[in-house]
């Protein structure tokens, strides 16, 4: 598939500039291992239909709190239900954005329910032989990752 990093950057930028109102700078896609994730929160959503795969956003806890604060318009002290829900919603919107970019029709790719994982240390691994792209984004003296695993079904 062509230009996946660009497509991911476009989708992330659209959401961060509008809903999160946070400046972000995309970096070079990461080739190596990102695990284990530490003090991180992950929002993930599955894609199915003409394209099959998984999209995840991994944020360090401090950054996740700031993102949630901007997103919901409130101060956030800890990784509570609000933060988890906000990050899940972020994954949902990113999924919506990327599906519209991957398929002109948009209807041909369907999204699953989003889910959030958080913890002091965990390993998050996709088990799928599709293309794998991980783009880092600098934000607020920190960095988050957007991970896409995708394959076009015949």
């Amino acid at each position: 598939m062509e230009n996946l990093p660009d497509k991911i950057m476009a989708s992330v930028h659209a959401i961060f500039s509008s809903m999160v109102m946070m400046d972000i700078v995309p970096g070079t896609p990461i080739q190596g291992e990102i695990n284990p994730l530490q003090s991180t929160i992950t929002g993930m959503i599955g894609l199915a239909g003409t394209h099959r795969g998984m999209l995840a956003i991994h944020l360090p806890e401090a950054l996740a709190k700031k993102v949630t604060g901007n997103f919901l318009g409130m101060e956030v002290e800890e990784i509570d239900n609000d933060v988890q829900d906000a990050i899940g919603e972020l994954a949902n919107m990113l999924g919506g954005g990327i599906k519209a970019i991957l398929s002109e029709n948009g209807k041909d790719i369907k999204l699953s329910m989003p889910s959030t994982i958080c913890g002091q240390e965990y390993r998050f691994q996709s088990h799928y032989e599709g293309e794998s792209v991980i783009v880092p984004f600098a934000a607020e003296d920190s960095q988050f990752l957007v991970e896409l695993r995708i394959k076009k079904e015949e």
Partner: protein, 168 residues
């Protein structure tokens, strides 16, 4: 290693028909490929704490939007993988993760087939595993939520499904 803990939350109860599909799909995998006797127990309430070290997850899309997860304590995941592959896998982390991914994939396939026979179309996304000693999973949506414990000997694993029906 200490067993981890997982808190699941969100959602409300679910119709009995769905519980039956989840149980049937899970047992189909165990009775055939794993050949370990497992017995479903009463569904847990939505705000339940589960002790596990590895979870296999897979998203469902189409006529339902959902997230399927199967949660395992380490020792049971290892035992089940050994039976599935027909060889001892103690310490072979990658093989255990792959097997857990394969199991959630097959359970999802069974749920999809059950819906297909009712004329409902489910599309499956792809398996993911989460491994750790203490992680929390949450799907926020106010949706139906099923958590079914399955007892295998002294231990338990859990099949969890959150879902809602999509409008046309």
């Amino acid at each position: 290693m200490k067993p981890g803990s997982l808190r699941t939350s969100g959602g409300k109860g679910a119709p009995l028909e769905m519980e039956k599909k989840v149980i049937a799909a899970t047992l189909a995998v165990f009775d055939t490929m794993v050949m370990l006797k497992t017995v479903p127990e009463a569904p847990l309430g939505p705000k339940s704490a589960i002790s596990c070290n590895i979870s296999g997850m897979l998203g469902l899309a189409g006529d339902l939007r959902g997230m399927l997860a199967v949660h395992w304590p380490r020792a049971l995941a290892t035992d089940v993988t050994s039976r599935l592959l027909g060889e001892e896998v103690e310490g072979r982390e990658e093989d255990i993760r792959d097997a857990i991914a394969e199991i959630v994939n097959m359970i999802a396939g069974g749920i999809k087939a059950a819906f297909s026979s009712e004329g409902k179309v489910l599309e499956l996304s792809v398996p993911t595993t989460v491994t750790g000693n203490s992680y929390t999973m949450r799907s926020a949506w106010n949706s139906s939520h099923i958590i079914i414990p399955f007892r295998a000997g002294e231990e338990c694993f859990w099949t969890e499904l959150k879902f809602l029906e999509t409008a046309d």
